[in-house]
């Protein structure tokens, strides 16, 4: 197992967001987590990328190493886990190019960086047109492209995606997911969080269902897609 989460507990002040969830992601897999608003999906991703502290007793192992030993920037730089955060969180005062260059901050391989940038531009040609525009003035969808682009440049082993489809036009959404599939084929493991459960399950191999801080279901995507409870609650009947 590449990524093993055991008994993960997180709280925001007095609000308990995760009550001790455990799950695994294998090398090369696409796994998705679905759940209602406020279930704790984003919190899970934030905990893995060490943006928020976890409570004692939680364990996260990555590739045999204790992930909790690494601070947030090392999780990206040394473990190779990148994260497209909820709400994009671009550096709106910097240009598109600067955002991408920053994403490669910890990387030393100039050639590799150049290759990855090209790749981003080939997936999202729109970004290339906007290369010197400040990220803050991009349209919502363009911003989402840039957010995914940044993750592609910053680290390639595992990608944590938080609602990448939000605000994307249907056609573009297809494009993004196709690109993600390609990236996965090249060996990047993907952990995806989505509101659009149907889309997510069609895209992923396995899925977990999160409800108010607890994992209530897990299984192969097809199984979940056909599960009546899931259908009722998350697929719009």
């Amino acid at each position: 197992m590449l990524l093993t989460i055991e008994n993960l507990r997180v709280s925001y002040g007095n609000i308990k967001a995760l009550h001790g969830i455990s799950f695994q992601v294998d090398e090369g897999e696409i796994v998705c987590i679905i759940g209602a608003n406020g279930a704790g999906k984003s919190t899970t991703l934030r905990a893995i990328s060490r943006l928020i502290p976890v409570e004692p007793g939680s364990k996260i192992t990555f590739d045999g190493k204790n992930l909790l030993d690494y601070p947030a920037d090392k999780v990206v730089a040394e473990l190779g886990i990148s994260h497209v955060p909820e709400g994009r969180r671009l550096f709106e005062n910097l240009t598109v190019m600067e955002n991408l260059r920053l994403a490669a901050f910890a990387r030393k391989d100039t050639a590799g960086i150049a290759r990855d940038m090209e790749r981003v531009f080939s997936i999202f040609p729109r970004l290339k047109e906007r290369i010197n525009q400040k990220a803050g003035t991009l349209s919502g969808g363009e911003q989402q492209m840039l957010a995914v682009g940044r993750a592609l440049v910053s680290a390639r082993r595992v990608m944590l995606l938080d609602e990448p489809s939000m605000g994307l036009a249907p056609l573009l959404m297809m494009d993004v997911f196709k690109a993600l599939k390609d990236i996965n084929k090249e060996g990047t493991t993907i952990l995806l969080v989505e509101q659009n459960a149907r889309m997510a399950l069609q895209f992923a191999q396995r899925g977990y269902v999160l409800e108010t801080g607890n994992l209530v279901l897990e299984g192969k995507s097809e199984d979940l897609l056909n599960n009546p409870d899931v259908k009722k609650a998350y697929l719009g009947g």
């Binding site: 406020g38 349209s139 605000g167 249907p170 509101q195 149907r198 609650a233």
Partner: protein, 256 residues
């Protein structure tokens, strides 16, 4: 005379033409949709009509009056209410205060009232509280009235935003992706709320969405935008089958 009319509106951001030769007429009580690829200029059109930006060219008429160069708050008080793509709520105000705030331009008690707490102020504030509670009830968020918005679930925040926009007594309501970040269940709830609101108040609605189920079921007519220009306009059925729209926006395997 149309309720709202936009004539030949064009807007440039520096060297980028975000909107080109855009026209729109909305009549009382209509629900109309605006779709288009990301970056097509939809939000910009909203911003132009509601006065956040002033168009480089073109005129905007509300009930025959030119509102092109008015400030956003003036436009809002004349009857164009809106919500935002990325919800702009006020961090330190309660839900009730949010809705009451939208009554700002309707207040008449003035500074004297604000400073000295006159009887007139008490009466007005009370009336506004009642109205706000009614609106919150309408969108189903009344039980959160005294909470700060930051602690609320996303779906509820969207409803609060809607109630807030309604409190400005809009003649036309602009909704920018009202279901972004919602799951299908919540999407359906939102749709019902909007229908209910429309039935009760009867204002016109102009909305942007990427979720086709929502647009197609709610709107009477839909405009499709690409590169700042309208490429198609028509009923949901026409739009769904329009090859230009499919090419530019929907894609082949549309999931509805």
């Amino acid at each position: 005379m149309a309720l709202l009319e936009v004539r030949n509106m064009t807007h440039w951001f520096g060297g980028l033409r975000a909107v080109h030769n855009y026209n729109l007429t909305i009549e009382k009580g209509q629900i109309r949709g605006l779709i288009g690829p990301n970056g097509a200029g939809k939000t910009t059109i909203f911003n132009l009509i509601t006065g956040v930006y002033h168009p480089t060219e073109g005129t905007i008429l509300l009930e025959g009056e030119d509102i092109t160069h008015l400030e956003p708050n003036e436009i809002a008080s004349r009857g164009l209410g809106r919500t935002f793509q990325n919800m702009r709520l006020w961090r330190y105000l309660t839900v009730l205060e949010h809705v009451k705030m939208a009554r700002y331009s309707k207040l008449t008690y003035g500074l004297v009232g604000a400073f000295f707490g006159t009887a007139k102020r008490e009466a007005e504030e009370k009336a506004n509280t009642e109205l706000a509670m009614e609106l919150l009830d309408l969108v189903g968020a009344a039980q959160f009235a005294d909470q700060l918005v930051t602690s609320l679930p996303y779906g509820i925040q969207r409803r609060v935003e809607l109630a807030r926009a309604l409190a400005t007594e809009p003649k036309v309501l602009f909704l920018d992706e009202p279901t972004a970040g919602m799951n299908p269940e919540e999407l359906i709830q939102m749709m019902e709320i909007i229908r209910k609101v429309h039935d009760q108040i009867g204002m016109a609605i102009f909305l942007i969405e990427h979720r086709m189920k929502f647009v197609m079921e709610l709107c009477e007519t839909i405009q499709t935008l690409n590169f700042g220009e309208v490429i198609a306009e028509g009923t949901p059925e026409e739009i769904r089958n329009n090859p230009v729209v499919i090419e530019a926006y929907l894609g082949k395997e549309v999931e509805v």
